[in-house]
Symmetry: D2
Subunit: 352 residues, 4 copies
């Protein structure tokens, strides 16, 4: 029996519709670097989904860390740093890509991966109230992820509060949407693409983890931040020669409601998992409503299961292990069922 | 009639075999970041093609500028720069990606894009003989491209001479092989992959311009230079989450002699073009034996042709225009024939 | 009556002996960039004070932030960061100079500015035990300050423990000795210059805050870290053209026991202040044995005093204010007495 | 007999007036980091010398390379480079300090160290006319030195031409005035400090090579470029804690016409040398009117002289050697006479 994969949301290629589209247009020629008509069409569809017309600059990049590093470097002045949750991807798992660009990540306290407007305000007040502020790194923007690295999401009220404090301190607000489809699709969510356009300065719509083969669409509701972004992308080695590949994928993702459907596939699979886990008495350790589920297993159970199901190791905690289960655009119902059976079986063993 | 594309070698997706392979394995799950078995299989095949066994580290990255910036940053110490032809891609068309990493590109004179061992020696002697060398950027490696940005190639003798001077001055020699397939395939070439492994410290086998959808395989004959390359790749935002996509493509490219065949497709199409151009009395302005052809057209002819054929504008020179024609893995014989007809037609008009 | 200055230890020029030396040798010519004989003589004297002979590389730089940024950049590989107390100077008050060089400051918990060997071990174990460590910034060295930013000092036992854990994880240990004279001179101290040479890889002997006009002497007990430090210094804009000015000052500081005497001047003045403060019932809020004293004053008292005495504002805490008093090589006994009188006077007012 | 020093203009400490001033104010306390009243007074005097009132921001830094790196980093956006003569100090002898900050030095052709407005225009037209400009480093400012590294100077007409082309392309024009005193003082010069304020965006008045112990005064006629320069200076490790030392020196240099007198001392000594050299039939190889003289000596003569006079080796040219003689604020008449005697003596020997 083939191993089950719930280790992450980038372990399979792409949604079949995306693959079919790429196949179909595989041999046609296009201009390079995203200057082609397919990219333009994709941009138009994203703008429509955002409720905007032609004044919304959009660029396509390849991956998440790359996008974060490029956007943050484009937005910040050389003497500024980026405020982020101490657990934010840029603060922990990007191998220092932000510092490579010369900028400090200014860590903020977090709860389940989320920062609060109050903490942003506190950091700004601390900076601006400090007599030594000219010797310190100036906060130059705020980074959040939606959903967060823990699968949690910001409500529209929370995002509005962040927007307000950012506006007050002239800090661009940037949203890392690597898994945005799953935030948009989950029941608890009340933040639409239109809201993002109204409330943040720049965000990206994640493709890699949301049904694309690869690719992220960077959207600039604050168009003034987009100045020379093409060249900055090139300078970061982040400009894909065959940019039309990104255009094709995002054009497909924003046709026939595909991006929304992909979000639902991931969230529904996760919800099915949650229901099964609850039935087994396995609690989630983080209240995530999206495609990531964090649970605690007896380490013995975890070890045995690992041979048959890939799960994300999170941490050892005494004789139990916290693991992450992730679903995605390609998670099949039968895989969810099989994982539940394996868990049931092991739970029964473990209980004996 | 559809427009003809001879503007560059990255205007179409991928060789059909590569696309078919991606389609076939599209829904299977894999571990992330190139740690999967397909990548391992691809590495084994590349090693075999290089006549080496398991001691040859290989990493897969996405694009050329990205690869250059990451490799150069990995090889150099902070106080060193990279010697390169003043026309080298890193010196001209990478938007300062090398400087973004903190390193100076030290320009060398060139002929048709090639540098000589004598000029490398001259630069090293000038540096080491200068009383002020401790105030200067130390040459820390040599960058060349094979073929060059002008389509020319280094012979084994020339490469050996570069190898020798580099060894003498302890300078790693790095080869940008963005279009390597076309160098390997052209009649004039006497440098094999095995020779590259013997003569250079690190090189990359270009995929993006040679039949892959995207991707470059970085090969480290000098394994000591590979230390922490994975993390450095991540730090540069150059680590593809779905690394298996790169593995699949290179596994395919190095199966059934595909990479060699792709090289031949491109070179044969270029040679057919050359023959036609000669018949029309249109001279090549650069003696390139690979997939790039540089010709001078009457600007009037160029303008008219442009509506029906995409060509690469190189420079205006009085009332004539230098253009680049590029073929690739997907150039069809009939497209070459059609371009010749168009040229004939325009040449006839222009002659009248 | 002239205002009293206890605001910091860099508010006056230099110890008279240092000034006299500079005056005396003012018009003699010297080679540039620290290649002169006076610098060599100063190095020899520092080596003697360290109990070492000629195998101890020493470089002279101008200021503290500059020295930290240059040394850390010289020691770290591009993918590494520096472990430091979250209150360390490099983490807070250097305007992102370390990040400007491309490196992350990895914050550690601290007590009165000091980190523990246990916390360094914990950070190393966390990194090396993390499956995702290749996506993270690798700890590449440890930074401490002696005395710390809070005036506290590491004992020989504590430093030995840090040395051991650093050795175990192959982390160079670096000591920022901006105020080293005051650590060496204080009663509680048991760490000599010889101990520093035995226990750390690189440290600097602070001049700017310890009686010099300016200047810091970087000492490399681990000589392998000094490779190309001259060029790296130039690259950082940190190479003083008239390096002999630094040599003269350090030659003077290490003649006739001057550096030790300066340390004692500062510490004795601080101890006199401490005694007076205790008599007034004003407690130190940080147990510092060196030239910095942190006390809590009624904000009303602080405000009134500020007109006549410069003190370092630290923080507002309800209706009291924490201030720093700093002594230095030039603090006069009568100034200490006058400050005590002012405090007595205000305390009497405030008590009424 | 003591060796003569004509090797460079930073081989002696400071003009006696500057030293005396430092001595006099040595023990008075001041606030740190250039926020003191002496710095303010110095700024006012420099403003007066520039014919400006309070709207002219001025910062004091320590050395030339440091100043260039900090100013250029402050002025450029991350994706921009700096146009400079290929012989400019930033292009050759700053160990890659500009690239360390992430920026490319875009080299221009030069004559005796000077670039022309025509060449700046050509570079700008080439960039803006290039279809691939978005893949290239954008020219973001122009760097020149006055006098140049070869001692030559720009006339007001030449500077005006540069100003005009820079204005046309929105390029800030920056003047490295490391040796500005000698340009201002030489007979050929028609560019005053007022002219600099009218024609350039930022420049620095060199202290280190012009009679100060150390220090450079950065002047921003284009005040908008000065935004956050204090913090950028700190980030570059270029902020002197005892900034008042810089203030005292520049206050002295701009009192009693001292800076102008220093310039004259250097130029008059150089002119006396020139006269003597001409009498000996030794030609200058570069038409420099300032404090640097470039001559060709028989290598045999050079070698013999070297034991008794420090000269700057420039290059070997067959059996002759090009050397640089530099005078400065402290060059004594008798030293000039003695050097002439030595040359006469050797010339006589060599002629025999």
């Amino acid at each position: 029996m083939q191993k089950l994969y719930f280790g992450s949301d980038y372990q399979q290629a792409a949604h079949p519709d995306v693959m079919a589209r790429l196949m179909r247009e595989c041999t046609s020629p296009y201009p390079g670097y995203g200057t082609d008509e397919v990219c333009e069409a994709a941009r138009a569809k994203i703008r429509a989904a955002c409720g905007r017309s032609g004044d919304l600059p959009i660029h396509f990049l390849v991956g998440g860390t790359q996008t974060n590093a490029t956007v943050i470097d484009a937005v910040l002045c050389s003497y500024q740093g980026v405020l982020a949750a101490e657990t934010g991807h840029i603060a922990t798992h990007e191998a220092g890509a932000i510092e490579f660009g010369g900028h400090k990540v200014l860590p903020l306290p977090q709860k389940w991966g989320k920062i609060s407007a109050a903490d942003v305000r506190r950091a700004c007040e601390a900076y601006h109230g400090d007599d030594n502020r000219d010797h310190m790194v100036m906060p130059g923007m705020v980074y959040i992820s939606q959903p967060t690295e823990y699968g949690t999401i910001y409500s529209r009220a929370e995002l509005t509060a962040l927007h307000n404090v950012c506006a007050e301190y002239h800090l661009p607000l940037y949203v890392d949407g690597a898994r945005l489809a799953y935030a948009l699709a989950c029941g608890e969510n009340d933040v639409t693409l239109r809201d993002l356009c109204d409330l943040v300065d720049v965000f990206y719509i994640g493709g890699t983890k949301c049904g694309a083969l690869f690719g992220e669409a960077v959207v600039f509701p604050n168009a003034s931040l987009e100045k020379h972004f093409f060249t900055i992308t090139k300078q970061h080695g982040a400009l894909l020669a065959k940019g039309f590949l990104l255009g094709m994928q995002f054009d497909e993702l924003f046709s026939n409601d595909l991006y929304a459907r992909i979000g639902r596939i991931g969230v529904e699979a996760a919800d099915a998992l949650r229901e099964g886990l609850r039935a087994l008495g396995i609690d989630e350790v983080i209240p995530s409503p999206t495609n990531q589920i964090f649970i605690r297993l007896k380490s013995e159970v975890y070890r045995k299961l690992s041979d048959r199901a890939v799960m994300g190791f999170w941490e050892q905690d005494g004789d139990s292990t916290v693991v992450r289960l992730a679903t995605c655009a390609l998670t099949a119902k039968e895989d969810v069922d099989r994982l539940m059976e394996l868990l049931k079986e092991e739970a029964a063993h473990a209980a004996r």
